[in-house]
């Protein structure tokens, strides 16, 4: 690999989805083959590039790309271990979701627009992951909002428009708060690159109020996307979007962007020391704990499958925030690994929900009775995903919960474990009845609108294959957690290499 090419690698990774996306916009509706080719080309390219970068970062190389942007705050794309975690997650899940979306949207109108924005959305996510300073992060954070909005309203029904309005109201306000916070920090400390251990420590002496304000603004801005308690209102409504979109929104793109931002802010902007010194973690901790329970509690009452999954997301994403707010190395590992695990599990669940909806027209939970016999593979994937959400091994969710629990015990906050237990209980309360219906329920009426999508499989292979793929990932990540390839090992590497814990 040429040296000059290496410098451009971060940019190329962003462009590998951006350019196909822009090209797709210009395509006509009927150019299915070309569009699919472009999509897959982008995915493959991105995966190859990400693989190269992964190799490099593992060896300790650094990638750094800089364009002039604001005075004192360049646009920086760089790759450290943390950003790579998110990049890998989003590119791999993009692959699954793209295939899924191609199958899901077969014969539906406006596909060029859909796939165009879809690629933009991934580009923004990857850019956000690779962002090297707060200003760059802010830029991609806003772009993400813009790229996902058309996906949320893609159906164009009154409900989806209402959801879109709400989504915008929340996310744009969040972006605004973030912008206020970023500008305040820029004034106080400039916008240097993300630094392990943060770069605000020298400012501690000169007064803490403004730092606290900045932290509050940043977290509130990020909390909107991460669906922290009072800011979560957009998420359950946004599930009216088509299944691949919900899958991507809930698993990778939007909610994770918020959570990832919180990780960045706490570890690479403020740093553990400053957060401790300013007593900033406590409110975040309580908020996250409350959100975990609140989301689960609300999920119980939902009768719509996707809505239940949406509330579950609110709860699950806050695990990440909680792990970050605990400010311990093990909790950080738990938070990071949950970022990946939750993504894969939730995307599986949404794929399955989409499969049920597309194949049999099932949207409500009570219609799921006995669907396990009709669609065993999908149901298996759903079951494993649900068990993972509860935190039952060997699904991946267990590993992350375990590390979060260890982290809580490590910093002597055993009450947090109680939160996990209660949340696990609530998770079981809203997932296991669904699983029960799937496998043991007796079908009492005909399927709402069955479609024969495949002659060989239970549903279209493009719908089935991604869910099987992510199902495999869940089990592999849960079982082979200690291997070098696993998110767990990578998270440990991140914490070891980049997070500054004294001990």
């Amino acid at each position: 690999m040429q040296a000059w090419l290496l410098d451009y690698l971060p940019l190329l990774i962003v462009l590998s989805s951006l350019l196909p996306g822009l090209l797709i916009f210009t395509l006509k509706e009927q150019q299915v083959a070309l569009r699919t080719f472009l999509n897959l080309l982008g995915v493959t390219l991105k995966l190859v590039l990400v693989f190269l970068m992964w190799q490099g970062v593992k060896e300790g190389e650094s990638y750094y790309y800089r364009i002039a942007f604001l005075p004192g705050a360049d646009l920086i794309l760089q790759a450290d271990a943390l950003s790579l975690l998110f990049v890998v997650l989003s590119s791999v899940l993009w692959l699954a979701t793209t295939i899924y979306a191609i199958g899901y949207l077969e014969h539906s109108p406006l596909r060029s627009r859909f796939f165009g924005y879809f690629s933009l959305c991934v580009s923004a996510t990857v850019g956000l992951a690779l962002a090297g300073n707060l200003v760059t992060f802010l830029l991609f954070y806003e772009l993400l909002t813009l790229a996902t909005f058309p996906l949320v309203v893609h159906r164009g029904t009154p409900q989806s428009l209402a959801a879109g309005r709400r989504y915008l109201a929340y996310t744009l306000s969040g972006g605004l708060l973030l912008m206020l916070g970023v500008s305040l920090l820029h004034l106080l400390a400039g916008s240097p690159d993300f630094t392990p251990g943060g770069y605000l420590a020298p400012l501690l002496a000169s007064g803490s109020i403004l730092l606290q304000v900045a932290f509050a603004l940043l977290i509130a801005g990020l909390g909107v996307k991460a669906a922290l308690f009072p800011l979560h209102g957009w998420l359950p409504q946004a599930m009216v979007a088509p299944a691949p979109v919900s899958a991507l929104l809930h698993a990778v793109a939007v909610v994770k962007a918020g959570a990832f931002g919180i990780v960045r802010v706490v570890y690479d902007v403020f740093g553990v020391e400053v957060v401790r010194a300013l007593d900033l973690a406590w409110p975040l901790l309580f908020l996250a704990a409350f959100t975990i329970l609140f989301g689960s509690w609300r999920a119980l009452a939902q009768q719509d499958l996707k809505k239940r999954l949406a509330y579950s997301t609110i709860s699950q994403v806050s695990y990440i925030t909680l792990g970050v707010a605990l400010l311990g190395p093990l909790a950080a590992v738990g938070a990071l690994v949950h970022l990946v695990h939750q993504g894969v599990m939730k995307i599986t669940l949404f794929f399955c929900a989409g499969n049920y909806a597309e194949t049999l027209g099932i949207h409500k939970i009570r219609e799921l009775n006995g669907v396990g016999r009709q669609m065993p593979m999908t149901s298996l994937a759903f079951t494993i995903g649900a068990l993972g959400m509860i935190g039952i091994p060997p699904a991946a969710g267990f590993i992350s919960k375990w590390y979060l629990g260890l982290g809580a015990a490590e910093v002597a906050q055993p009450w947090v474990i109680l939160v996990f237990v209660l949340s696990g209980l609530l998770n079981a309360c809203y997932f296991l009845p669904v699983v029960y219906r799937i496998w043991f329920g007796v079908q009492y009426s005909a399927w709402p609108s069955p479609q024969r999508l495949s002659s060989r499989f239970e549903t279209h292979w493009m719908l089935l294959a991604p869910s099987m793929f992510t199902l495999g990932l869940i089990l592999l990540m849960g079982l082979f957690a200690s291997t070098e390839l696993s998110p767990l090992s990578w998270s440990e590497l991140i914490v070891e290499r980049e997070f500054s814990f004294d001990d």
């Binding site: 009452a301 093990l330 039952i392 055993p414 296991l432 009845p433 496998w439 043991f440 079982l479 200690s482």
Partner: protein, 475 residues
């Protein structure tokens, strides 16, 4: 031992390194294989046999895994796999009873899992992020962790106040499933407690006394509650509650005894567990067959053998187990060691009741249809279980050269069976039985309907479970 730590998670490993786990594995494996063999016949006409086998095999794998585990996470993996797949077995028949029992089972199993999870987390954290047993042995426990372990694992083991699900869930499952549920799976709770609560820990001395009494109460309660039941499988299930009480007593004795004698209690624990696994497993299998097939004389003899064995009549594995229990109790110099006789009496009463009910059920079956004979595929496993039980109780009599083939450290248990052959032990085993017969007659005569009514007093459990369900699943 297989080291998997570079593959799965730090400290992951599988192996059977201690005598207890070797013995435990042996009887568990045996019971499982025979139960699976039995299922070949019993599930022949099952339209949903695929589902049955799936859950059976999952439970099997989980059960073996948790015994083989060398670290907390592998144990937890096996434990939860077994627990959750067990739901499938309880729910299998799909009847109303099965559904509500399944719900109750699942609710409590999940709670148990989560309690165990938090206990493991606390423990792993105390051990500095290491998960393997070796590192955990010397890390001091604290009260919170112990109570979490006792509750979490106790919910699986099903001893007295945590037994609620057991008498409901075991009877509704298919016979072979009930056999492994009662014979092997609930023992995982006790096994886990042995694993996670190392006897060397000083804090357990404080807990031992209480747990001992808890075990005793459970033993008496289970037996008495069994008397109030009408269905043979439910009687067997309550009997399991009672037997788990004995196992719990043995476990707590292992904590209380001085280190030199701890191995005695542990040997007794494994022996008792094996005995119970064989006897209870066989009885469940027989009870399953009894509801569908005509019993020949041989079958009735087999039934009698296991009942007698469970009642700890001399020369049975039960006698061996009970003797071991008594020895351990005596070693601790428990003032109320004589209370054990009360336990034995109650057990005997329950078994009388079981015999009567089985007989009644068989008669009812025969009066309705012309049932065929029990197929050999079902009889065979039961017979093999009987052989295993006999081997268990008599292996000590065999010459040392003959017992060498016994795998691993099993030989250490064989000495127990010899001690059961002393005259004092024989007498001690027989007299409660002799007393039980007239007592049972009198009880049935004068308090039969009262007992029946008492037996119906378990609806509150379902009611609460349903309430709970309504809470998290509003209509």
């Amino acid at each position: 031992m297989i080291d998997l730590s570079h593959l799965l998670w730090p400290g992951a490993g599988l192996g059977f390194t201690s005598a207890v786990s070797q013995g435990w594995l042996l009887f568990t494996l045996l019971l499982w294989l025979l139960a699976l063999l039995y299922s070949l016949s019993s599930q022949q006409q099952d339209p949903r046999a695929g589902r049955y086998w799936l859950f059976m095999l999952l439970c099997f794998a989980g059960n073996v895994l948790l015994i083989a585990a060398q670290d907390a996470l592998s144990f937890y993996l096996g434990f939860s796999m077994m627990s959750l797949a067990g739901t499938g077995l309880v729910l299998h028949s799909g009847t109303k009873q099965a559904r509500r029992a399944g719900r109750l089972y699942l609710q409590l199993a999940v709670i148990g899992e989560l309690l165990l999870f938090s206990a493991l987390v606390l423990r792993a954290s105390a051990a500095g992020g290491l998960y393997d047993w070796q590192s955990w042995q010397n890390v001091p426990l604290d009260h919170l962790t112990i109570s979490l372990f006792v509750l979490g694992l106790g919910l699986k083991a099903g001893f007295f106040p945590l037994h609620l699900w057991l008498p409901q869930a075991h009877p509704v499952a298919p016979a072979a499933a009930s056999a492994v549920l009662s014979g092997a799976m609930i023992k995982a709770g006790i096994f886990g407690m042995w694993l996670f609560l190392p006897a060397t820990d000083p804090l357990l001395q404080q807990w031992g006394q209480g747990v001992l009494w808890l075990g005793f109460v459970s033993a008496i309660f289970g037996a008495l509650a069994a008397l109030c039941q009408q269905k043979s499988k439910q009687i067997l299930a309550y009997s399991s509650v009672s037997q788990m009480g004995y196992l719990l007593m043995l476990l707590s004795l292992s904590w209380l005894l001085p280190p030199a004698q701890q191995s005695l209690a542990l040997i007794a624990l494994v022996g008792y567990a094996a005995h119970h696994a064989f006897a209870k497993g066989a009885l469940f299998l027989l009870a399953g067959s009894a509801s569908r097939y005509r019993f020949g004389t041989g079958d009735q003899l087999l039934l009698g053998f296991f009942i007698v064995s469970l009642a700890a009549l001399p020369f049975t594995s039960g006698a061996m187990a009970k003797t071991a229990l008594k020895q351990a109790t005596a070693a601790f110099a428990l003032p109320a060691a004589n209370l054990l006789y009360l336990g034995a009496l109650c057990t005997a009463l329950a078994l009388c009741h079981l015999l009567m009910r089985l007989k009644a059920e068989q008669l009812a079956l025969l009066s309705q249809t012309s049932a065929s004979n029990m197929p050999w595929l079902q009889r065979g496993p039961v017979l093999l279980l009987a052989v295993a039980a006999v081997l268990l109780s008599w292996s000590g009599v065999m010459p040392a050269s003959a017992s060498v083939w016994l795998p691993l450290g099993i030989t250490s248990y064989t000495s127990l069976s010899l001690q059961a052959l002393t005259a004092a032990a024989i007498w001690a085993a027989i007299w409660p039985l002799l007393m039980a017969l007239p007592t049972y007659y009198l009880l049935q005569r004068f308090a039969g309907s009262w007992l029946l009514q008492l037996g119906r007093r378990q609806r509150w459990v379902f009611f609460t479970s349903l309430k709970l369900k309504r809470l998290y699943q509003p209509l």
